[in-house]
Point group: C2
Chain length 334, copies 2
């Protein structure tokens, strides 16, 4: 069973699991799977739960080979789509059953290629898969936030080697998202302008932190980077909602990702990273203060080069040994 | 030079450094120092900046051997005590010079013992060193928060092997602390009781998450643990300020720490961990809403057994594969 418990001290929800308490103290090892045993490889479709989406140009049967991207429910989900949605009290504490949904988007049938090895066209197919699943899952009104994220490498939390992205549907708007919405709304109310549009303007003007850009997207090392080579990717035009991305924008986003990963690879080799899409909550529009005015979706791309330590846990602040201007200079020198 | 930059999107401060941009992409390695080259070893006192505190029972000269604990300014500080304290604007962005102070408290002259190996009396000496430095540094009115924390093991961010604690003085109250104060204040205003006192009461009543306790302190796996074997240590009586800890309480705290680390060691072996003291801000008392009423200092003890991944970065939430009740059961079965 999955449970959500509210941290009284910071107001964040924690997801707890009690699968016969099988947690082992032995540190996690990334499965260096043989493609023959890999559930994400071609011809192993029966090793996953039945697919929910696939890009299958030859129009074959579901759960058969012939796909280019394939989405399946996570076999070990963080949340359970059968739980009820109800908050409960336990004395001073708040909890609820761990309702939600958790999928895996397999980015390519090839076991040995990572996202950075995919062609621009293949990356476009992956983004289209993200969009299809997002739109489909957002129809369930019980979901309040849909998170698309990718962990690459053991140090960034990936447990399977075959390149994939995760999608989690949450029954709550998580704290980090609420914080971001609150900051963006406050900025909009003060300045009658979207904070992210203003950041795009500033970065294009100064140029010193930009790593890649085209007419639809800009990738840069943010002014307040918390770790070396942190990258933000913003749509250049005001775009609140990832799922409304247009076909031409998908092409331009995949071009930026391809260029960015090539530059990062030249500087860092095969490095662990996290890739997150920050977008508007679903089923939560507020007519009196429309989210669409003040929010702007974006991607956070975080190479994992250091550890979160005591200082970061205690303060929520970060110590970054590399200025973003210097990180951008190194990436652009490749 | 050190700089603070404000993250516009989350309102956290980031500390940036630009020491001739010497950051290297090669992953950090813990220095497996030979005691002969270790700046924290006996007879190597000249390898550190001049000491600011020492427990030297024989009353020897400063910076000579004969000490049991020794505090020195950090040779590679995160913040610079010579910078000015002034906020500046850079267009849309906010920044300030990186003013602050950063010390290292060497817990024992012995290179080969870790904190868990120290006797109860030795741990008491370490806590007394924390208190002396806290009280002395809090006299500088420019400091708003003093953080005492310890990283043990490379995976928890320690860069030197010889056991030590860090102390950082900040010119701001960091975001994570403000959040905690706000939650505690809101709870107090609603219930006319300290939230932490209420948690102590609940844990003592239920017993199922308690790992160690005596008349002054209680250690337990919190109801909303975000990672396996996370521990909170709370003073049993209402105590807002770590630096006011009494001699008898120091003795009882060191007894709890000794017992706790013995139990954790039996279950986890030599595991990486972070140890943080959460206490009231300094030089920030507010007469109309006295912090002393609603806040209660405590210790967070976080074994590092997994990685922060995309889900955690994006949501501020955590996925914990071990229920705190089961973690406490395993620790108590030792």
């Amino acid at each position: 069973m999955k449970r959500l418990r509210l941290d009284l001290i910071t107001k964040r929800w924690v997801i707890l699991t009690e699968e016969n308490n099988s947690f082992s103290e032995i540190p996690n090892q990334q499965a260096q799977t043989d493609p023959a045993d890999c559930p994400f490889c071609l011809n192993n479709e029966s090793m996953t739960p039945p697919e929910t989406d696939a890009d299958r140009p030859g129009d074959g049967r579901p759960n058969s080979p012939g796909w280019l991207t394939r989405t399946v429910p996570n076999k070990f989900p963080a949340l359970d789509n059968k739980a009820e949605l109800r908050k409960e009290k336990e004395g001073i504490f708040e909890k609820q059953k761990g309702f939600g949904f958790h999928e895996v988007i397999v980015e390519t049938p090839d076991h040995d290629r990572m996202m950075a090895d995919l062609s621009q066209e293949e990356i476009s197919r992956v983004i289209k898969a993200y969009r299809r699943r997002f739109i489909s899952l957002a129809k369930d009104k019980r979901f309040k936030y849909i998170l698309i994220f990718k962990n690459h490498g053991l140090a960034a939390g990936a447990s399977l080697e075959h390149t994939h992205t995760q999608l989690i549907c949450l029954p709550i708007i998580p704290k980090r998202v609420t914080e971001e919405l609150d900051c963006a709304k406050a900025y909009f109310n003060r300045n009658n302008q979207c904070m992210f549009c203003k950041i795009v303007e500033k970065e294009r003007e100064e140029k010193i932190r930009v790593v890649s850009e085209n007419e639809d997207f800009i990738a840069f090392c943010p002014f307040f980077s918390r770790s070396p080579f942190e990258i933000t990717i913003l749509p250049v035009k005001h775009r609140p909602d990832f799922s409304k991305i247009k076909p031409g924008e998908i092409k331009n986003l995949s071009a930026i990702l391809k260029d960015l990963m090539a530059k990062l690879g030249k500087v860092l080799g095969d490095y662990p990273f996290n890739f997150l899409i920050h977008t508007s909550p679903v089923n939560s529009q507020n007519r009196t203060s429309p989210l669409d005015n003040f929010y702007h979706w974006h991607i956070e791309f975080l190479p994992k080069l250091g550890e979160i330590a005591g200082f970061e846990w205690a303060t929520g602040s970060y110590i970054n040994p590399l200025l973003p201007e210097e990180a951008a200079r190194r990436l652009n020198a490749t």
